[in-house]
Amino acid sequence: MAWISKNWAMTGIIKGFIVTLKHIFHIGNRPIVTVQYPYEKMKLAPRFRGRHSVDQDACIGCGICESNCPNGTIRIVKYNGRWFPEFNLGMCLFCGLCMDACPMNAIKMDGGYELADYSRESLVYGPDRILFKKEVNK
């Protein structure tokens, strides 16, 4: 109880009140920082590692990404007569080793982050969903 006689004025709590009050009225660079997510999205950094996409002209189906993947996410499958990787994103660590290992720089990881789905099967992204064609500037 000696404690209370020392701290009866509760100055610490009052200081705290002032801090929260400053936030309520946005005094001195204390603005609202959150965004209304589904309606308003934050800008991703250019290096952001999201869903994979594969340049269909560059990919040679060599399987180096498959052997480099730590988790067995990648499988090389046949698609339209050529070999392409297939990503099981349910297992993916998004570490970017496949992107780094690709000798043709065909794999990119810029495909966004809203990857929730209803079944495990739909998390397997086959070539039909990940291939893109690089636009050539003439």
């Binding site: 610490g12 705290g16 801090v19 250019p46 290096r47 080793l97 990119k108 990881m109």
Partner: protein, 382 residues
């Protein structure tokens, strides 16, 4: 009157066990008579996984140990392998590594502060902490493309160079952070209720703390002037000006203050790095004689050998992670995969002291003491 002891299973699903930890408490009313810690609910067999991955492939797994501060995990592992193979990273890479690690120390302590105060019932500080952490995470996203699980370090360097405009944004962050820390201190440090909850709670003396294997800020809160960055300097820490933050009170409040001080020290380090970071390579060329591929279509990807075999040997390296001493014992048998990786995780060893601290106290004190130990269950269970 006859009374009975009550067994309470606190966890594995409980709001304040920071994950899936379980305390088996024998209670006498509100007082804890015995405390047993049950863990393993998040055990993923990381050490076994390491034996089946190549040295490079294991790096993403180290992210998942202490996912609040993943960069030091990356670094500790990479450094162990580098020592094993006798590789040295270029100076710029070391600067970038220390930069990211100190930034991670700040984010870790912000989460610590927030979750501790949330455990004590104040819900505002965690939002403030996450507000600033978000800015740091955006820096990480800018740097390596991920926000928490970076897998950024590589044996012999780092994965990507600093992007354009990184240092100015870092300076902005430092300036912002300095103002915010003042806010935290005003909001929390002198709060009488906070003091009531923290002072003389979870007391552990210096000798006991050492005996119980506590490390890091938790040990420095017990008055042991110990910081691996100072005692066994690694990377560029000898060139940097900083001090180990020590408090002598041995209680929860001291452990909290140490971390707030450390945030300031880390900011100080970041400032020095932002001013003095040298130009140069970001990944070593000494071992393999292969220059990074420059001018490749995506020039952010330095070349690294896919198959990497360090010589036979074993090594134990440790670094000062935000939570304490993080060590990797790596044994190589000369193949492409490590023979054995042992992870000495700070959370696991700091947790040993919890039963000692809390017996005789009450459940709210257990939560306060446990909060100041700063445990991440990914790190405890591995």
């Amino acid at each position: 009157m006859e009374t009975d002891e009550l067994l309470i299973n606190m966890g594995p699903v409980h709001p304040s066990t920071h994950g899936v930890l379980r305390f088996k408490l024998i209670m006498d009313g509100e007082i804890i008579r015995d405390c047993k810690v049950v863990m393993g609910y998040l055990h993923r067999g990381t050490e076994k996984l390491a034996e089946m991955k190549t040295y490079l492939q294991f790096i993403p797994y180290t992210d998942r140990l202490d996912y609040i501060a993943a960069m030091p995990n990356n670094y500790a592992y990479v450094r162990a392998v580098e020592e094993l193979a006798g590789i040295e990273a270029p100076l710029r890479a070391e600067y970038i590594r220390v930069l990211t690690m100190e930034l991670n120390r700040i984010t870790n302590h912000l989460v610590f502060m927030g979750s501790l105060l949330l455990d004590l019932g104040a819900s505002t500080p965690i939002m403030y902490g996450f507000r600033e952490r978000e800015k740091a995470l955006q820096l990480y996203e800018m740097l390596c493309g991920a926000r928490m699980t970076f897998s950024y370090m590589r044996v012999g360097g780092v994965r990507e160079d600093l992007p354009e405009g990184f240092i100015p944004r870092l300076n902005e962050f430092i300036k912002d952070m300095e103002m915010r820390i003042v806010d935290y201190e005003q909001l929390i440090n002198d709060n009488e209720i906070f003091l009531l909850r923290m002072k003389n709670i979870g007391v552990i003396s210096a000798e006991e703390a050492i005996n119980y294997g506590m490390t890091g800020p938790s040990l420095r809160g017990s008055g042991v002037n110990y910081d691996i960055r100072k005692l066994e300097p690694y990377s560029i820490y000898p060139d940097l000006d900083f001090k180990a933050c020590v408090r002598k009170e041995c209680d929860s409040y001291a452990r909290y203050l140490v971390r707030i001080d450390e945030m300031k020290e880390s900011l100080h380090i970041l400032k020095q790095i932002a001013d003095t970071i040298p130009a140069g390579e970001i990944i070593t060329t000494q071992k393999y004689g292969i220059a990074p591929v420059t001018g490749a279509p995506t020039s952010v990807m330095p070349y690294f050998p896919r198959i990497f075999t360090p010589p036979e040997g074993e090594v134990y390296t440790r670094i000062e992670a935000p939570k304490g001493e993080l060590g990797f014992y790596v044994v190589s048998d000369g193949t492409t995969k490590p023979y054995r990786v042992k992870i000495r995780s700070p959370s696991f060893c700091n947790l040993v002291a919890i039963p000692k601290m809390v017996v005789g106290l009450k459940i709210p004190d257990l939560i306060a003491a446990f909060g100041t130990i700063d445990v991440v269950l990914g790190d405890v269970d591995r």
